[in-house]
Amino acid sequence: MVKKILVVDDEQDIRVFMTTLLETSGFKPVTAKDGREGLEMARKEKPALIIMDIMMPRESGIFMYREVKKDPEMRNIPVIMVSALSKKTFFHSQKVVDEFEGVKIPEPAAYIEKPPEAEELLVTIRGILA
């Protein structure tokens, strides 16, 4: 069965690039433009993997990621974060919010800094879905 991958990014260019990359590599991409839309899509489409940006209008990737990981039906979906934000900054923000909320949210399956390279992304995706 073709695996469904949800791409959440507010940038049109990134969505087109990822869609092309995924389609031509044997996956079925679905897209969303922000964290809120992303959550709706994740619930509806039940993707095998989510690739998401962090800085987006309306709900950010940080919010969406935590919602996904707190939801019993979605928490097992692996997530790749792709962001212009440095990895260090993201992990630091997670630690701070963890402490604030008093819950430990697991780390994402992978973290890729923008701009994403096609080969790097594919290797990561295949590694996670294997």
Partner: protein, 407 residues
Amino acid sequence: MINPILLVDDEEGIRKVLGISLADWGYRVLTAASGEEALDIVRKHRPPVVLTDVKMPGMDGIELLQRIKKEMPETEVIMVTGHGDLELAIRSIQFEAVDFITKPINDAALRIALQRARERIWMKEKLREYTQGLEQLVLEKSQRLIETERLAAIGQTVATLAHAIKNIIGGLNGGIFVVEKGMELGSQKYLTQGWAMVKGNVEKIKNLALDLLNYSKEREPEYRRINPNRVASDLHLLMQERARECGINLTVRLDERIKEISLDPDAIHCCLLNLLGNAFDACLDVENSGNPKEVVLSTALIEGGGVEYRVIDSGCGLSEEIKEKIFKAFFSTKGTRGTGLGLMIVQKIVLEHGGEVSVFSEKGKGATFAVRLPAGDIALCGKGRKENSVRCRTWRSPDATKGENNV
């Protein structure tokens, strides 16, 4: 020790006797028989210490003391009097004499007075040295601070620029990838989408470069006499088509009382184009979806014959927090679509015209940008150098890069 000292007494005998003692103690003694003569010597030789009798014909010791302290406050004055007059002593000290001794002069008392004078001179000297040292230190430190701030500003500019460029390169790489897939698989969809990405990102980098150039260039404004309404109606014509495409109702309201003033029409055109572009973007923002899309460009005569342009939109508005930042370099609310330089260029041009830009807005309630230009005759400084004319970015609809695809 060759310390000069001025000895002032109307009695020659005292000048002689006291002079010998002082010379004995190592002073170079100058003498004066009157207050007037003393003042001349003080002006000419600037002795650090003056020893003066109080009772003298003509200018007396107290007056001499006051004049010396007024003209050369660093001079220390010791008062000498024949009477144990407490009132005179108090007055002398009030006028900042260093000490007060009585005749007949007791050597020990005189030495103590001289010692006090020397100490005071030394302390004042030190104080001045320290003060100057401190001032110098403050100057050096502030210069270093300014330098550090300047470097930090450059560093930040470079970092932000690098980030913007990296983003565009990411877009270009993505576009190239999609185009290549299109060629590989013979897919018209990929070719079209990928090509749109490449074009969009080339446009972005072009705008970034033009904005940077416009901002950094030391440009001589080309002032001419023109009716400000003309710039506004030209823009109306230019933007009408775009407005229609974007579903925006663009209206222009001109104040017909406005007469010709001196301004740089290209620059002001660029300013208003930037403001209109922002107004359109604000109307098309997701946060404004479903609301009416109205943009008004108006002109009004202001006191002194100048003009106030207003660009009013019914868009998403600006929060207080954002309002504070909009005129700063590289601040943009438009994500990768904005260069963060537009309003900075607007401000630069308006300031060059001796005018001012202001913004009124509330989150969710639209925004009004006002540009006030004085009628002042700045035409005289116009140099008319063509190579310096403003190159304004081509305005494109914010959705132009999004294409028709539904990804």
